[in-house]
Amino acid sequence: MNSSVIIFPGSNCDRDMDVALKKFGFKNKMVWHNDVELPKSDLVVLPGGFSYGDYLRCGSMASKSKIMQSVINFAKSGGKVMGVCNGFQILVETGLLPGVLLRNKYLEFICKNVFVKINDKDNSYFKDIKKDTLELHIAHNEGNYFCSKEQIKEINENNQIALHYSDINGKIDEDTNPNGSIKSIAGVFNKEKNVLGMMPHPERMIDPALSGNDGSFFFENLIQNLK
């Protein structure tokens, strides 16, 4: 399985993502944002970080960079594209994913482990994961997912919510919502479910000795389902 991680000026989780993808068997290539063509890929990942210093709006500049036209075409032809954290912000700015990520409700940069409940397993990203909740890491200032009332209705009807913030048992309420996101949304799909954006970092949870192992379940499952 071939994957590509796009590097934007200010990306800082690109190497972690590279390490994670390789650990679980992907042949990964790093792709510079100014390149025009995407290498042959089964998965394209937009990593976390602070592309273009978060100028204007997080992800807005990166969403217009040269490589993104190829990424958009790849996604529109059914290719798997995943954005984590800043990558999620970039994907909503391209319009591939609905909604937008606002400043966290209490204006704090949040950096901690959280639990997320998998909302939908009818897709290649989460299909065979046995657990219902995963412990993952978040680190963001703008993770407060927002969209219009009409959009949230549409997202619900199409089952596009991928992850909710929850407690360890999968209970979803205001106490486990770290940033004020509508319906505690931590990740969403596009309608076709080939594009996924999420605020938590699975690539930071691939080693029990360092952090945790729940990200490993995610990547192990992903490569199996892409085969």
Binding site: L56, V100, L102, K105, L107, F146, G180
Partner: protein, 80 residues
């Protein structure tokens, strides 16, 4: 031609920064404030002498980059 544009958050979008500014103003003694909303201001110097054409270009920029229409509105407030 210089075009001035303001970008504001749509009415039903939460503006936590505006809220904190409101609270701080209150604690400084500025009472009687109903609400504070924070926005952005741009001055774009366009190589174009025709006012209508320049404003059209600025509007296109707002739609494509300067504003995110999911949460923001834009308004051209001046051209000279």
């Amino acid at each position: 031609m210089k075009i001035s544009v303001i970008i504001t958050l749509k009415k039903d979008v939460l503006d936590p920064q505006g809220k904190v500014i409101h609270q701080t103003l209150g604690s400084m003694g500025f009472n009687n404030i109903n609400e504070v909303r924070q926005g952005k201001y741009f001055e774009i110097d366009i190589k174009e002498n025709d006012k209508k054409k320049a404003e059209e270009k600025a509007e296109d920029m707002c739609k494509k980059l300067l504003a995110n229409l999911v949460i923001e509105d834009y308004k051209i407030i001046g051209s000279q």
